[in-house]
Symmetry: C2
Subunit: 208 residues, 2 copies
């Protein structure tokens, strides 16, 4: 029997390496039954972005209809553009026994948690302010003001770390990836998940 997958809410300040960790997790474990949720958005498609890979690009009218149909688990409006997470796709995927990663900030995380309290939260942290600043100064030539703005935004996100179940410190990337994988593996070993997966085996073991 296939049990339900687990929904993981993954948050981090930018510069913590969240996207790289999620990508590496999926690439290095192709047989591990995991997928990333792809958001719907009404914003314009940018060069290099693929529909259905980076986002589901939809017209505003269509987005509002989906909202009315209660398709989204959470949604937000940023600079006049809408972003939403499909409840329908997530539930279908979890029902197939596939774990789903939701790459989302602390505000979205709160909305999700209210509706799916069984979701597990993972928060990823950079090891220090110095390292964070180095990672946020992406081109090595950003102005002090721009970097200060990014740092302030990052600190605001970090202040919500205690709303999550797990905390990964991304100092050494490979170690952080092993941490990430250990969490996924251990959650699958939880007794209630295993009892569904090995239902037949358990019945046989307990039969006279």
């Amino acid at each position: 029997m296939v049990g339900k997958g687990t929904l993981y809410i993954v948050s981090a300040p930018s510069g913590a390496g969240k996207s790289s960790l999620i990508s590496a997790m999926l690439e290095k474990n192709p047989n591990y039954a995991m997928k990333v949720s792809i958001s719907h958005t009404t914003r314009d498609q940018r060069p290099g972005e693929e529909d259905g890979v980076h986002y589901h690009f939809v017209e505003k009218q269509h987005f509002l209809e989906l909202m009315d149909q209660n398709v989204f688990l959470e949604h937000a409006e940023v600079f006049g553009n809408y972003y939403g997470t499909s409840r329908v796709w997530i539930e279908e995927t979890l029902n197939k026994g596939i774990d789903v990663f939701l790459d989302i900030d602390w505000q979205g995380a709160r909305q999700i948690r209210k509706q799916m309290p069984q979701a597990k939260g993972i928060f990823i942290l950079p090891p220090s302010n110095g390292e964070l600043e180095r990672r946020l100064n992406t081109r090595g030539q950003d102005s002090e003001e721009v970097i200060a703005g990014r740092m302030s935004k990052a600190k605001s996100e970090i202040s919500h770390y205690d709303e999550y179940d797990y905390l990964i410190i991304n100092d050494d990337f490979d170690a952080a990836l092993m941490d990430f994988k250990a969490i996924i593996r251990a959650e699958r070993l939880k007794q209630d998940k295993q009892a569904v997966k090995y239902n037949g085996m358990l019945k046989a073991l307990l039969s006279e």
Copy 2:
């Protein structure tokens, strides 16, 4: 700062490979801050057994005094011999940030859980009755009656699998060992544990 270690209650029917898994876990990860709790017992020391390694061998009178001093987290009397788990040693070890494995049956596990509800339970299962029977027929020449008795005892232990947090199926030993390690690693990543361990780093990240 060193956070507290986690107490793991590890149970299994005999034949599931519990002792081998615990031994391999400790041997292969010597720097991982884990120890096995060693029971006190009043029974006679057998050839090959070392005091302080397999058991703490004590006189009955001394055991009863320790019981009166509330030293034991749980104790049991089996065939006139006493067995006990030292609360003092466990608490001291956990306070040093070291995880402790407690190799104990479901009845002992219940006693422990009442007093230390933060303990995590791991139950180890064999993959099938056929495999269990093969493992219980250790010398390959035990009588049907003896094996049936062992099977019945094993099934009784198995029936309590749902009182534990995690369930490991020991079909392939290496995979079961990786499961075991993933649980220990993931539990250390729990937000409350990490927040203590990285208290200074978090303060620095959140300072202005």
